[in-house]
Each structure stands twice: as structure tokens, then as C-alpha cells.
Amino acid sequence: MNWKRYIYTFIITLIIFTFSLWLSNRFNDEKINTLRDIGSQISLDILSAETRFSLLQKTSCEHIIDQASSTIGFNTELQDLAARIKFMENQLGYQNPDVVALKKNYTLLQIKDYLLNKEYHDRCKQDVVSILYFHGLDCKACSDQSIILDKIISDYPEIRVYYFDINTNTPALATLSSVFKVTSTPSLVINDKIHPGFQSVAKVESYIPEIKQWKKDKIKAPVAASTTSTTSKKK
């Protein structure tokens, strides 16, 4: 009987086990850092857009619209960030402190982007449609609702969807929820109106009068035109 072999095997196994844990942590840390970088880049972009907005107070909306594609184009980046955060949440668990911090940061970025868009919409009378989507954990209909919204985004690139996990503990989100009287998940807020419960594609489309207009007009609003032109390039 060679007891040493059993002990050596145990030690080597322990080393491999620990090494795997360490390597996994390293990879995940790196990914979290990437997400932080993306987050701060987006935050910088928003700040810069806000600043330009303030500077252009006195100029005409045409001026802003001219630059709209370059200033208000964070939506895809935010969406991309959302997909990455979702992935990290699956990998590390929703309770992971890094994930929680990322989600908080992401929630704030979305609210800022939403406000900026709204201001742009109000002042320049542009068809920028925003959907605020409130979802939560242990909410079966939410995963269905997410699928529906993915479909909406791919059909109408001019629509922006903001994802809010109501479990994210940040005062700004609490305020936002109370403004629109969000009490349950899933809930959609479209054109300042709340629609609680699961909404099918047809229903969501019916809440957005602009869609009819887009379908009629071949010539779309500048923002829409610019985004559609990029999607048509992809095809």
C-alpha cells in the first residue's frame, strides 16, 4: 500500500481545483473590468451629449438634428452592455457584488439616457420612442416579455428599450418607479403611460401610434432614417 500516492494525488487535485477557481476569478474580473470601462465610456458620452445640449439651448433644433446621429447613438452600446451584464449575471449569480454594482451603474446610465432622449423628443418634436421595461426576479412572464421586446427592437430600430430590474437598489430607480406607479412586473411604460402585465407584440405596437406613421411614410424621421440605413447595410 502506497499511502503517499493518495496524499500526493489529493494535494495535486487540490492545486488543480484551486487553480481552476483562481483562473475563473481572473477571467471574470477581467470581464467585469471591461464592463466597467464600457460603462464609464457610455457615462462620458452621455455627459458630453448633455453638455452639448445645454450649449445648444439657443440654437435651432435643425442644428441638433444634424448632429443627432453622433450625439444620441448610445442605445446600441447600452443594449450591448445589457447583454454582457446579463451573461455575467448567469455566470456569477445575481447576488454577486460586482454584478450588483454593474447593474446599479447601468440602471443610472439608462435613466440618464432616457431623460436626454425625452428632452430631445420634447424640444425638437422628433419621433424618439422610448419603452421603459420594468422586470424582476422570479417573474415567469418577464422572460417572455424580454423576447417580445427583442423582437420589437429588431423590427423598429428607432425604438429604444430601457431595462430596469426593480430589485436594483438605487434611489433614482425608486423615484422612476413611483413616478409611473410601477407596482408589478413585468410593466411597460410607453409614452408616459403604464401597461402592467405581459404585452404581446401586437399590443406593444398598438401603444405606439408612431409605428403607423412609420409604416405609411417611406421617408422616415432623420433619426429613424439614419438607424435604418445602418441596419440595411448589415443586410
Binding site: 500500500m1 502506497n2 500516492r5 493518495y6 500526493y8 494525488t9 489529493f10 495535486i12 487535485t13 488543480i16 481545483f17 481552476s20 477557481l21 483562473l23 475563473s24 476569478n25 477571467f27 471574470n28 470581464k31 471591461t34 447583454a83 454582457r84 451573461f87 455566470q91 449569480g93 447576488q95 454577486n96 417572455d144 423576447i147 417580445i148 427583442d150 423582437k151 429588431s154 404581446s200 407584440v201
Partner: protein, 415 residues
């Protein structure tokens, strides 16, 4: 943070790595012994021990002739080779075909009522007059140098009581046989490693060599839930007899050709293993029985647990994915799926994934070393996918069925 499932998962991973590391350590301790560069030196003829092949035949007339011819074709002193063929109540022309050897002094022909393989072997044992006994299957072809490779172990080591040979699949035709080809090569590595530590799990009924005194001391074969070779091995371990594995004594068997036949064979193996294991449970984790009790048996039981666990887990994943896909179709219809571009960010970096990669790499290394040891030269890497499919997705089914049968004690037919 971690829930119960994650803790179980981590423990299973730890044990799976432990098993692989153990094998690798044994390999590196004994590396020079399995090197192909070892020059084989033949013994002088008079030193070779006399050998009797036990050949139980049951409705295998045509293959029996090939088998007897392959034994005669062995590179071994002629006067030291004997064959005892037992017709175990065949209902076909087996006995008639065997008659062509009736005038051959080196062949003893016996006939009896059908009673199962173990009765045929026991029927032959009293007729053995030679030093060694070879258990052999009628559907097996033996390589010409196999005995010259195996017998010197008994000449050099008086303590050695039994020697298992390497069984490979010859000329695989069906996908099921191709999967088994990979399996047998992989297992020839683990078998050799278990041989090094005196923990051979089974001396295969298809080809193994015993000293005659083994049967005189501990008795003949038992029914043992139709897995007589595994039972005999456990009994030998119980009596503290030395068993080794001979990696370069090679026989080739056909292996079941259809899934149904493979399923029946493996159900018999895993059910027989479980039942025999229960009968010899005092060996389990008992250091009195050395590495066999401490490593081989727990490792085998763990392998069953691992197979079932991985199967259930992937079944859950696959069916979950499938159901979500159908659900998505229902929600938004066809043609709405986007495939994101490949981004290393989305590579799974869970610790358990990294551990699995290590385990797969170790199994693959074992497969390569098994090929090397059993002198496989033809390329068969393209058969690996069959192996993964058959053993990843179907092996757990017969393992679970055998556990079910064990719990509800149903009978398993022999073939």
C-alpha cells in the same frame, strides 16, 4: 452564495479530478515499463509453462473453428498448448464443427447440457493438466505473440496468480463498434494503471491467464449474476492473490454490433457489477484489500455516479434549451433569431468548466497512451465522436436501468 447543487457539483468535480490525477501519477511512476522501446527477449522453449485454453461454446460453430485455428497459430511451443472446448448444449451445428478436431491430441472436446458460461468453464476445469489456464471467448481472435508476451510474467513472478490481457475491437464496422474501439483503447490504459497498483477490476473473460492452483484454492466459477469474470476477480482479491494486467498480450473481439446488443451486454455488466459489489461490500474502502478496496471499487462506483450526474445535468440543459426555443417560436414566430457575432467575452469561464476541460484532456491523454501501449497504429480519431455520443448519452441509460433493476431486483438475461 453557493447553493446545494453547486456544492455537490464541486465535490463531483473534485473526485473526478482526483481519479484522473491518480492515474496520471501511476503512469509517471511506471512510465518506463510501458515504453515501446523495451526489447522483448524470448525465453528458451523449455521455460515456457504449459497452457490450456478453456473454450466455452454456445451456438458459435463457425467462429469456434476460427478461434481454435488462431490458437494453433500462436507463436508458442506446440507441445505446451492445449485446448479444452466445451459445447454448452448448443442447438446449432457447433458440436458437429468441433468434431473435426476429435483426433487432435491437443484438443479435448466436451459436451454437456446447457447451463450457462460458468457451468461450461467449471465442466472444463477438472480436465486441466497444465500449469496455466487461459479463459477465452469463442468470438475472440488472439494475436500470435500474445502468449509469449504474457507467460514470462508467470515465469519471473511466482506470486503472480492471474494476468488479464488487453482486449481490443478488431475491424469495427458499425458505429456502435467504432465507439467501442475507442472505449477499449482508452480502458486499456486504465487497466494497465490498475495493474501497476494491484487493483485490477476485472480479469476479462475474453482473455486472461490463471495459475491452475487458483481454482484449486478458491474453487471454480460462480454464476455471479452472469458476470463470472468480475466475481472471480473480486474473490481472488479477497484471498489476497496477485493479479496483473499485460498490456501487450492482445486479443481482438468483435463487440456487439447493434445498439440493442450493446445495451444488453452493458446492462449485464453494470447490473452484475452492482450485485457482485454488494456481495463483496466488505472489500469496499477496506485498506486490508489494498488499492483494490481503496481505489478501484470506489472509483468504479463513482464513475457510475458521475455518468448519471453528467447525463441528468446535460439532459436538463438540453431539454430546457429546447423548450425555450419552442416557446420563443410560439411567442414571436420564425425568422426572428439573431446570432450574435463571436466574442470571447461570452466564453464560459466558470471554475467547473475549466475543471471539466482538465478532465477531458486527461481522458484524452489516457486514450493516446492506451493506443500507444496496445500498439494501435491505424488512425481512428474520427471515431471519437461516436464514442462521446454512445458513452455520454447512452451509457448512463444502462447504468440507471441496472440501478433500477438492482433496486427492484429484476432478472437480466445473459444475451
Amino acid at each position: 452564495m453557493a447553493n446545494a447543487f453547486e456544492i455537490v457539483y464541486a465535490m463531483i468535480m473534485f473526485l473526478a479530478i482526483y481519479v484522473q490525477v491518480f492515474f496520471l501519477l501511476v503512469f509517471f511512476e511506471n512510465k518506463q515499463k510501458v515504453s515501446r522501446r523495451i526489447v522483448h527477449v524470448d525465453l528458451p522453449d523449455h521455460q515456457y509453462l504449459s497452457v490450456s485454453f478453456l473454450l466455452p461454446v454456445w451456438n458459435e460453430g463457425t467462429t469456434t473453428r476460427d478461434t481454435i485455428e488462431s490458437i494453433f497459430a500462436l507463436d508458442y511451443p506446440e507441445e505446451k498448448l492445449h485446448i479444452i472446448a466445451v459445447d454448452d448444449g448448443s442447438t446449432d451445428d457447433s458440436w458437429h464443427i468441433m468434431q473435426q478436431y476429435k483426433n487432435n491430441p491437443r484438443v479435448t472436446l466436451l459436451q454437456k447440457e446447457n447451463g450457462g458460461k460458468h457451468t461450461a468453464l467449471n465442466f472444463a476445469l477438472p480436465h486441466v493438466k497444465t500449469d496455466l489456464v487461459v479463459s477465452f471467448d469463442a468470438d475472440t481472435q488472439i494475436m500470435p505473440d500474445a502468449l509469449k508476451k504474457a507467460i514470462p510474467h508467470f515465469v519471473h513472478d511466482a506470486q503472480l496468480m492471474a494476468l488479464g490481457g488487453t482486449v481490443l475491437i478488431g475491424n469495427p464496422r458499425t458505429y456502435i463498434q467504432k465507439a467501442q474501439e475507442i472505449e477499449y483503447q482508452t480502458f486499456s490504459f486504465t487497466k494497465k494503471m490498475l495493474g501497476f497498483i494491484g487493483g485490477v477490476l476485472v480479469v476479462p473473460g475474453a482473455f486472461s491467464v490463471f495459475r491452475r492452483e487458483v481454482f484449486e484454492k478458491i474453487g471454480g466459477y460462480k454464476k455471479a449474476y452472469n458476470l463470472e469474470d468480475a466475481e472471480l476477480t473480486m474473490r481472488m482479491h479477497q484471498y489476497g492473490m496477485k493479479i496483473d494486467h499485460c498490456h501487450d498480450a492482445i486479443v481482438k473481439t468483435k463487440g456487439p454490433d447493434t445498439f440493442k446488443r450493446l445495451y444488453k451486454q452493458r446492462l449485464r455488466w453494470s447490473y452484475g457489477f452492482i450485485k457482485n459489489m454488494i456481495d463483496y461490500k466488505k472489500i469496499f474502502l477496506n485498506r486490508k484489500y489494498g488499492n483494490f478496496g481503496l481505489f478501484t471499487l470506489p472509483m468504479s462506483v463513482f464513475t457510475y455516479v458521475l455518468l448519471v450526474f453528467v447525463f441528468m445535468y446535460s439532459l436538463y440543459k438540453v431539454s430546457y434549451g429546447f423548450i425555450s426555443y419552442i416557446h420563443k417560436l410560439y411567442l414571436i414566430g420564425f425568422g426572428n433569431f439573431q446570432f450574435g457575432s463571436w466574442d470571447p467575452f461570452f466564453l464560459d469561464a466558470k471554475a467547473t468548466t475549466i475543471m471539466s476541460l482538465f478532465i477531458y484532456a486527461a481522458i484524452f491523454a489516457g486514450f493516446l497512451m492506451g493506443r500507444h501501449m496496445s500498439r494501435v497504429t491505424h488512425s481512428n480519431f474520427h471515431n471519437i465522436p461516436y464514442f462521446i455520443i454512445v458513452y455520454g448519452y447512452f451509457a448512463p441509460i444502462w447504468v440507471m436501468k441496472s440501478i433500477y433493476d438492482w433496486i427492484f431486483s429484476q432478472k437480466v438475461t445473459w444475451r
